[in-house]
């Protein structure tokens, strides 16, 4: 079993692991010939199934194993994130699977080059007397000397057998009623965090509870097929909602939908298109889910990756977010993170 790769984009990789870490402590990482999968299945809350193309994070990539070149690992995300953070300034970094005292680990080798330029400290065009004594040394240092620092971070991991992960499947869900492109996540996060805070303020004022034992706030998230997204929360003291208008509802691709053109005609979202309006004032045509405010805030942290996000609403049932990572190479396989959230009942 071998795995070795040089990391192409350290900052993206760090942001990815950091945002996954906010939802769970351990990730199931599946490395194969053409893709890397990160999966988070917490006890409670949001599941993440991320499928990344190799070159979105790695450059030179080498994987070998007896089981069709697939390696399954359980990786502690906090350690991986902090190791990657220390590599942010690195000139190059590589990662490989190794073993030490029979413990499998991921070794992250970070190479940092810093050039030392002594001219800053002592002038080379200094007085003639000193030049005689140190002349040669200065000649050499005029070009600057480079110092290479190599740091290796070791992250203990567990190797998972193919059997132990064979029972894990991506959640299946009915066809969504509404799909919509979300506005920048930082924007939504700003508002939803404020809402969550408002709910705790209201709860405290109403029942004399402290923030800790206040009931968990349920955000209500709705969207329609006319470019509107609504975020709302209801407390005893108030009832607040923010409405975005003018968002995009992407067209379905007939080749991706079961039944092709016919499938689209019978798709729930086609029916939803007939209802509601683009100014968000109509009460009809909304698909609504209720989610935990704090959980939503954690999911929104993926916004730092800065990709496009498409939200699929199954009314009163589930919310699925597809986060597409920015890709420099047009037309190549896109890396996508899928978030599954189930709706609480009212």
């Amino acid at each position: 079993m071998r795995f070795k790769a040089s990391i192409q984009n350290i900052s993206i990789f760090t942001k990815l692991t950091a945002s996954l870490n906010s939802l769970g402590n351990f990730a199931w990482v599946k490395l194969s010939d053409n893709q890397v999968c990160f999966t988070i299945i917490p006890e409670q809350g949001t599941q993440v199934w991320a499928v990344l193309s190799i070159d979105s994070i790695f450059e030179v990539y080498n994987i070998q194993s007896a089981a069709n070149n697939v390696v399954n690992l359980e990786v502690p995300l906090a350690s991986l994130t902090s190791a990657l953070r220390s590599a942010l300034q690195a000139t190059s970094a590589s990662i490989r699977l190794t073993k030490k005292d029979n413990i499998p680990l991921l070794a992250l080798t970070i190479i940092t080059t810093s050039s030392i330029n002594p001219r800053g400290a002592i002038s080379t065009t200094g007085s003639s007397q000193e030049e005689g004594a140190f002349g040669n040394g200065y000649e050499e240092s005029a070009f600057g000397r480079e110092r290479e620092t190599i740091v290796t971070q070791e992250i203990p991991v567990k190797v998972l057998s193919a059997d132990s992960v064979s029972g894990l499947h991506e959640p299946r869900c009915r066809e969504p009623d509404v799909h919509i492109m979300l506005p920048p996540l930082a924007q939504i996060k700003g508002i939803s965090d404020r809402f969550t805070k408002l709910a705790s303020v209201g709860a405290k004022a109403g029942a004399g509870l402290t923030a800790a034992n206040a009931p968990r706030s349920r955000l209500e998230l709705s969207a329609n097929m006319h470019g509107c997204l609504k975020l709302s929360i209801r407390t005893d003291a108030m009832n607040i909602s923010s409405v975005w208008t003018g968002l995009t509802n992407p067209e379905l691709d007939p080749s991706q939908v079961q039944g092709g053109e016919e499938g689209i005609a019978e798709h729930p979202s086609t029916r939803m298109k007939a209802l509601g309006s683009a100014d968000g004032r109509s009460d009809e045509g909304w698909a609504t889910v209720r989610i935990d405010g704090r959980d939503w805030g954690k999911v929104m942290s993926v916004g730092r990756l800065g990709g496009r996000v498409i939200a699929c609403f199954c009314h009163e049932h589930a919310l699925i977010l597809y986060v597409y990572l920015p890709n420099d190479n047009e037309g190549e396989d896109e890396s996508v993170l899928t978030y599954y959230m189930s709706s609480y009942s009212a």
Binding site: P183, P184, I191, M238, S242
Partner: protein
């Protein structure tokens, strides 16, 4: 405006060009859970109270709003209401709302455009490309509408920013207190006007000993005004004195006194005692006074007044924008204490010996 106006005769609707201004003013009285709101022809009056011994009042004048419509349902002409007025028109809508919720709502502004510091090409805003006429450019980003449709309906706050519209409906509750703390402006014992930041500094300084009560002493000393704040608590006591270099005292009875040069070197801009030979000493609960700290920090000037009964009024002048001022008022009921022995306290045994030494200086 239009969609609010269409509905049959909302009692009140107003548009503010700056939610930030409203927030800054209302935050000064943001120490209570509920605020009582009274809508009148002249503006919105927000009042909060604490244990019936302290009261905070913030008046949002009509002029703070770009549009202000109040449909008085009563036939009788409404009486003008000033910041100090105790008069409450019976027919004016009065209700309570959750003040922290309102403050949080007003802060939603600016949250939604985190990119404004960056040039347009560096923003990762896929949804709304800005044009020359978008609301950011026109400076319309902080427009906020307030509305109150009918008695019993929620107070609505609508904030609009580019493509996002936030609607907040604040539940209105029955008013819980009807009367203000009585303060007789005709029977003042003391009036001091000074820079609010100096009062803030003094209170912050005194707070370090976590005192329980604050004693205010004002008198004439060698023909000069003397004003001191002393605090005493279980950890000890401390005193801050404000001494004016020269006398600027005028008897309050002499109305329309020409004010002396208010040069910045003077700590106390105005110092007036009803009886210049007497000494004014009153004690207040320190925690209560400290609740006005936010107002002290943002205000430019404060008017410290005490009436014959010892009720303290702090009126803060806050500059909301250049040349435009608003006022925030606080009133405090003093500790009861007997004539002659200003050190003795009625409800706790701590002896305030801070006041006594100063007496020898007289």
């Amino acid at each position: 405006m239009s969609d609010l106006g269409v509905e049959e005769g909302p009692i009140f609707s107003a548009i503010s060009a700056s939610a930030r201004q409203l927030f800054l003013l209302l935050r000064c009285i943001g120490f209570a859970d509920k605020a009582q709101v009274q809508i009148s022809e002249e503006g919105l009056r927000f009042s909060v109270e604490e244990s019936s011994v302290m009261e905070g009042l913030c008046f949002l004048e009509k002029s703070l709003f770009t549009s202000y419509v109040y449909n008085s349902t009563s036939a009788r002409p409404s009486t003008p209401i000033s910041q100090d007025s105790d008069a409450t028109g019976v027919d004016q809508p009065i209700f309570q709302i959750s003040l922290p919720s309102l403050l949080e709502t007003l802060q939603i502004f600016g949250l939604t455009d985190p990119n404004t510091n960056r040039p347009p090409w560096a923003r990762d805003n896929h949804a709304a490309p800005s044009t020359a006429f978008s609301s950011n450019v026109l400076g319309m980003n902080h427009v906020c509408r307030l509305g109150y449709d009918a008695s019993g309906s929620p107070l609505s706050v609508i904030l609009e920013e580019s493509s996002i519209k936030t609607t907040c409906e604040l539940t209105t509750y029955e008013p819980a207190f009807a009367t203000d703390i009585p303060f007789s402006r005709k029977d003042l014992a003391l009036k001091i006007i000074m820079r609010a930041s100096w009062l803030h500094d003094a209170i912050t300084e005194l707070a370090s000993t976590s005192p329980t009560r604050l004693t205010l002493v004002a008198r004439m000393q060698d023909g000069k005004p003397y004003f001191a704040l002393s605090a005493s608590g279980s950890l000890g006591s401390a005193r801050v004195e404000f001494n004016n270099a020269k006398a600027t005292t005028f008897a309050l009875t002499a109305t329309n006194t020409v004010q002396p040069d208010t040069s910045p070197s003077l700590l106390l801009e105005t110092f007036q005692l009803a009886d210049p030979t007497a000494k004014v000493v009153n004690s207040y609960k320190f925690d209560m006074i400290q609740k006005a700290a936010r107002a002290m920090a943002v205000a430019t000037k404060v008017s410290v007044r005490g009436d014959a009964q010892g009720v303290l009024s702090l009126q803060f002048m806050i500059e909301v924008e250049a040349g435009k001022v608003s006022f925030v008022d606080f009133r405090f009921v003093p500790f009861v204490f007997e004539e002659g022995d200003e050190g003795d306290e009625v409800d706790n045994a701590v002896v305030d010996d801070e006041v006594d030494p100063s007496e020898d200086d007289l």
